[in-house]
């Protein structure tokens, strides 16, 4: 059974279909793994043992009854704690939501349940998805399975670490400026931020509404495509949800896995490389480009001159929207309620005391920034100009996609840094997302996959595609994955150190 946890979701699905293993066995193997290693990794905030096994039993019963099942039925999954799950705590990594039990499911959770995928638990994250290291969680750090002294990326460090530590074959992440892709990069896993509107946001605790997207976290490109197809597609409860049908993502991943990219134009984004990028990160990137060329791709350099302003614009738009989205956490209806220690107990003072006690420093920092940026007299200079930059970034993408079918870059400028190393330097922390943020500003899809190691730590390779062309990510990603794994003699995660079993 020990190897069940190391199998891909696609392999597990095949084994379940053939009757080689039962859903209960697969779920139990992962629950056992969580019990064994999560004390050290701390990827999970909440483990749903009973619910996961109940779903698994139901899938087994339906399978033996001969019911038509979803291809991923019985494959378990971990869900980032920013996603609302009915009857299961959903804190978004914040003290202010401690004890809140949602009365409803996010659309994507409904879809996971409809597919018969047991939910193993809720994963750790930076509070309200604000951060790049998961160190801003109110519930303690998550550790990188490659080196427990290092960060797993963020904000979705829990989902990435859970998949990298074989605690779950799949996970759900959310990506507002790189929170799926950057953790994937530093943990040697795969993560996709779909086209904005491609996956319903209904039931995602909002950080920045115009940037947030949920997406798959996995160990293989094909698995990401399989999960993407489960959660993607139109949802009438999200006004920004696209009405177009999803492209054939799984088909694209299978096509890519034949390793032939003849005729595919790959654009290297000039602004997302070079200065500020770790030497080893650049070396792995160049090697990957060589492999793409070898597969028949035409590699060209493209310029996106306004990307240099993307980070600044992002750190005005995100805090502005967040300051408004997070206003509802006030102790009046749900979650934490704190009364002032002295003086009258008025609604306004309870709101103040609750927010003062319930939010962490990074959240407060961004609420203050956003409140300021939206203030009368400052709006045009800050929020207004940031929106103009956003338009320019979108135009850069449009021009670049005239020259190339996909764009590529390193996912993050560095490999995983040490826990605590950048905690007191917000600017250094923000720079982790310099290569991932442009995609969120423009709403285009992006995927990160492992491209090798630098000094024993994973490096990520990012593929970007035009909006609605998420299939291109999977074709190019699967091709590169196949070529890299040929070179490595297996998946990169096979090189990760064994985790000590603590339980």
């Amino acid at each position: 059974m020990g190897d069940l946890i190391r199998r891909s979701a696609a392999d597990l699905a095949t084994a379940l279909r053939s009757g080689e293993v039962s859903s209960v066995e697969v779920a139990q193997a992962h629950l056992d793994r969580i019990a064994a290693v999560d004390g050290a990794v701390h990827a999970f905030l909440h483990v749903c043992t009973d619910e996961a096994l109940a779903t698994a039993r139901e899938v087994d019963a339906r399978r033996s009854a001969g019911d038509e099942l979803h291809p991923l039925a019985g494959v378990p999954i971990a869900v980032k704690d920013v996603v609302v799950t009915k009857g299961i705590p959903s804190t978004a990594g914040s003290k202010i939501l401690q004890g809140w039990i949602p009365p409803y499911d996010a659309t994507l959770v409904e879809r996971l349940k409809a597919a018969g995928m047991p939910i193993l638990g809720k994963t750790n994250m930076d509070e309200f998805a604000m951060g790049s290291s998961t160190e801003h969680s109110a519930y303690g750090n998550t550790h990188n399975p490659w080196d427990l002294d290092r960060i797993p990326g963020g904000s979705g460090g829990g989902s990435a670490a859970a998949v990298a530590a074989f605690e779950a074959p799949l996970a759900i992440g959310t990506d507002t400026g790189g929170s799926i892709r950057q953790p994937a990069a530093v943990t040697g896993t795969v993560g996709t931020k779909p086209t904005y509107g491609g996956v319903s946001r209904y039931g995602l605790i909002a950080l920045a509404s115009s940037l947030d997207q949920a997406g798959p976290v996995s160990r293989t490109v094909l698995d990401a495509a399989l999960l993407h197809e489960v959660i993607g597609g139109h949802d009438p409860r999200d006004s920004t949800s696209l009405t177009d049908p999803l492209p054939d993502l799984v088909g694209a991943a299978r096509l890519g896995a034949n390793g032939d990219l003849t005729g595919v134009r790959v654009g290297v984004v000039h602004e997302l490389n070079g200065e500020g990028y770790q030497a080893g990160v650049r070396a792995r990137f160049e090697e990957a480009l060589d492999l793409l060329r070898g597969a028949g791709a035409e590699v060209v350099e493209v310029g996106c001159p306004h990307f240099v302003h993307a980070l600044a614009a992002y750190y005005l738009i995100l805090p502005s929207e967040a300051s408004s989205n997070l206003a509802r956490f006030d102790g009046m209806r749900y979650g934490l309620r704190v009364e002032p220690s002295d003086g009258p107990v008025t609604a306004e003072r309870v709101m103040g005391a609750t927010r003062g006690a319930g939010f962490g420093d990074e959240v407060k920092r961004r609420i203050i920034l956003g409140t300021y940026a939206l203030s009368a007299g400052y709006y045009d200079a800050y929020y207004g100009n940031a929106q103009k930059v956003r338009t320019l970034v979108q135009r850069d993408f449009a021009a670049a996609f005239d020259q190339a079918d996909v764009l590529v870059s390193p996912t993050a400028p560095t490999t995983a840094f040490k826990l605590g190393e950048k905690l007191d330097d917000p600017m250094a922390m923000y720079l982790n997302d310099v290569a991932t943020i442009p995609a969120n500003l423009a709403g285009v899809p992006g995927l990160s996959l492992p491209s090798g190691l630098d000094q024993g730590l994973p490096v990520g390779f990012q593929v970007l595609a035009p909006a609605r062309a998420d299939d291109r990510l999977y074709r190019v990603g699967a091709a590169l994955e196949m070529l890299l794994e040929q070179r490595w003699g297996g998946p990169l995660l096979a090189q990760a150190p064994e985790l000590a079993v603590t339980a």
Partner: protein, 502 residues
Amino acid sequence: MSTAPDLVDYDDAVARYDPVIGIEVHVELGTASKMFDGAPTVFGAPPNTQVTPVSLGLPGSLPVVNRTAVESAILIGLALNCQIAEVCRFARKNYFYPDVPKNFQISQYDEPIAFDGWLDVELEDGTVLRVEIERAHMEEDAGKNTHVGGASGRIHGAEYSLVDYNRAGIPLVEIVTRPIAGVGERAPEVARAYVQTLRDIFRGLGVSEARMERGNVRADVNLSLRPSPDAPLGTRTETKNVNSFRSVERAVRYEICRQAAVLDAGATVIQETRHWHEDTGTTTPGRVKSDAEDYRYFPEPDLVPLAPSREWVQELRARLPEMPVARWHRLQTDWGYSDPEMRDVVNAGAVELIETTVAAGATPAAARKWWMGELARTANTEGVDLGALPVTPEQIGELQRLVDSGRLNDQLARQVLAGVLAGEGSPQEVAAARGLGIVSDDGALLAAVDEALAAQPDIAAKVRGGNLGPVGSIIGAVMKATRGQADAGRVRELVIERINQG
């Protein structure tokens, strides 16, 4: 509460100051679900039962625009002769208050769905005044706070507060006038007539029940004074939530008297919102509107821009009903009602009822007599609207036909109506079941006449002597004997005939 402020006599105030009014009217749309979610909108339901995760602003919930609400807003815009935006956006108005579940209200800020319109308002003397409409925009209503304990029912002094989110998210359209100047002493009347005309339009369009007493229509009245019509606009106050036509008139009047006193004293009017007190007919200060009040509006990122197609707008324009004022003028002419009669009918909400009753065969005069008389009294006693009575206009038409054909007299018809209201069936059925109908058999009537004459022989003698006065008491006796089912005119003829024979 502080001592009552000085007031200047109204006539004196308007003689020396030129009042300028501006009115913001909020109307709750009568949609089955809320502005941005599927929660139901039943009025008077137990607290916090008309809610979903969206109306409670639960984490993760998202708004979706209600198409029917947009349609209603466009209809209102068209009825107010507005331009309808080709593209417009919703915005977030950010402020912390417990009845606003998200701590922001989704509204429209610089991109209203309708703008630049006008509305002709008819005053009591028939003068028509054109009110310019600046904009009509969509937004969601807030919940309702109830402050428990304390004397005033206001938050100050309350022991605790309860919040009901049933109203949170109900669609509102807010209609804002441009400053209405140059109406002088008629400002209170203009304000009232404007709000009343809007109410009638909402009902005519069918977009809202527009019941003032339920707060379906709420007015905020802005008022400022200036020394002369040439002077720049003075500082205004905004009196919030004035919720009856009479109160609109009184609130404007009160603020004119109060502001005149402030200005007379050499002081300046403070720009503030004021509370209206129905019981005392006065206003008291609310929040001071200062620059510190910053709603940090920004485009609502959870909603895509709204782009009503021109085809849709055209379709709605074609569907616009005749505007109430024009329609009433037409009906008043057709029906031959006086101005006060027509105004009463309109105010009672009886226009459609009378129209249908007339179509069912009653004369306009008879239809008015029923609906504004017997039925209005019944509705008043029961505390319901005329339309809610268990009788249809068609039935009233049928009842009147029975009267017109001589089968019922007024008294019998009222008895039949009581039967109809009691659920006993149609007028025909009630008359048959209760055995009500005019006795037209002369044989039966003559027997009753003879009996009455025999019982009062002195009267018969007087009549024979040429004094017709006492005939009435014989007729009365006959009517009594026939339980009112005789035709009084015929009885009279028979009495005189009999006496003359004898």
